[in-house]
Subunit: 306 residues, 2 copies
């Protein structure tokens, strides 16, 4: 039995080439939404737009982790929805270490020295023997911790109960212990999701506990950070810098004070992109399971929302 | 028996604090060169200046790898000379991956976008699945290869005979095969020393073989690169960029064309600094061996020169 796939993605061309190269058995491609389409693949907003025109849909694979547009109450749920998981941890770790290494190596300062035709051989540092504090030790936190251990760092982790990460040297528990975790931490990294408990959990006290040479990273959700406390702390040099990938509103509105806060680096929600090779491989794996009538990976529970 | 140490270093204070904290048995510190001094520690040029004033010298530990000032023909050789080794590979690897990750992440471009108040969420890349080509697979090359494998890259290595590096996937041999190595290599990294064989070995043909998106790194010695071929290749966009840490003359003279070659990054010979913690630990290890009358690590053969 042939299955018909419609790709609804901003990178439709690249995904199509990737799937064609894989020569998936009994798969045909459709160029538009029709009653022939069995499978949708792409971004959740585009999947949602296509839903009314693909009545025979049996399975949709999102190439993002977040599938909010497909969870709204009046949207049909008579198909299997899978999202992208298990591919973002390594990218997040690469992101965090890009900026840790660039800071240790004074990359921006040396770039500016070269532009001014100045020989700048100021001493360089190393992450080795320094301490990384991780707020959240799930699958993404674990990849960051694994990379920190590769670079011979000491790793502290904030957790509610999971103490099974082989790359965390020392655990702290819940909100009351965050300030203790921040003390003597060179790099504080939040991968916290947006929940009632995490809301503004990184506040004035946590930031004040960091050493003045520390960097703070937010790669989780914007709501975990008290924005004005962070701006104050950076202005008062309570920490050396912050790298923010996520914000309450994206793109960050013009005129937002973050644009001009000293030592604040904005990375525009690029930390963990959906790469064609990663998500394409996930689709191929799931396609083979689906075709064999076996359970697919990362099926979303519409009620639970993930 | 007490041994007397004189520290002759630009970072004498930091080293002194490090050694004092280690409470080395039967070690006393001298503040100036006298006939009491048994041990010198510091940069080779400063060791050389102190030599005439420390007649009882038995051992000198250089905190650099290169000890050229102590190898000149008329300089005394009646003491044990040890140099710094085994500590630079990790720093070199951190250096190379600082710039690989910054390139994949478009760090400079995003920094400039932020300065212009622009939201820049252009797609980011990853070293994963890309190819690193290593010219030289000794102890430093091995650390770079090990880091490349951590980031799930494919590693090619140029070697004369050693094929024992567990992190190299594919070997190439000698000058005739460099062009083949460069083909389809995303990141070409030279750790080659200055010898007659390596002189200008990275020439026009090697650079032309690289893909146009490739980066070239020189962290070995400046003489391995044909400078004008590199400038031409960068001007003609035969490769995307080069990162040079070492030069025929340092500091790079004002007016040298490298200062203004497009897509050329200068890092001012900062790739692998002598860190107090690294070299201090090496001295402590050697002190304990020396005191016990055992062979010290990394003794320099004055005739051979390393």
């Amino acid at each position: 039995m042939t299955l018909t796939l419609l790709i609804v993605s901003r990178q439709a061309k690249e995904y199509r080439a990737f799937f064609e190269a894989a020569r998936l058995p009994e798969l045909s491609f459709s160029d538009e939404p029709t009653s022939e389409v069995d499978i949708l693949f792409g971004e959740p907003d585009r999947i949602r737009s296509a839903l009314p025109s693909v009545p025979a849909l049996r399975w949709a694979q999102s190439n993002w982790a977040g599938v909010e547009p497909l969870l709204e109450p009046d949207v049909r749920r008579d198909y299997i929805l899978t999202n992208a998981q298990g591919v973002f941890g390594k990218l997040m770790a690469e992101f965090v270490f890009t900026y840790i290494l660039a800071y240790e190596r004074k990359l921006i300062e040396r770039f500016q020295a070269q532009s001014s035709l100045k020989w700048d051989d100021r001493r360089t540092g190393s992450p080795r023997r320094k301490t990384l504090g991780l707020l959240g030790v799930g699958s993404i936190g674990m990849e960051i911790a694994r990379t920190a251990k590769f670079f011979e760092m000491h790793v502290k982790g904030l957790t509610r109960k999971n103490e099974n990460c082989p790359y965390v040297d020392e655990y702290y528990h819940g909100k009351p212990e965050i300030t203790g975790l921040a003390t003597n931490t060179d790099y504080l990294v939040s991968v916290l999701p947006a929940t009632n408990i995490t809301r503004r959990i990184i506040d004035k006290n946590v930031l004040a506990a960091l050493p003045t040479h520390a960097l703070f990273f937010n790669v989780g959700r914007g709501s975990a950070v008290d924005e004005s406390a962070l701006i104050d702390a950076l202005r008062q040099k309570k920490l050396a810098g912050a790298i923010l990938d996520v914000f309450d509103r994206e793109p960050l509105p013009a005129g937002h004070p973050f644009w001009k806060t000293p030592n604040l680096t904005l990375t525009f929600h690029t930390a963990a992109p959906s790469l064609v090779e990663d998500i394409g491989a996930l689709f191929i794996e799931n396609y083979q399971l689906f075709r064999a009538g076996q359970p697919v990976k990362y099926q979303v529970d519409f009620e639970r929302g993930y």
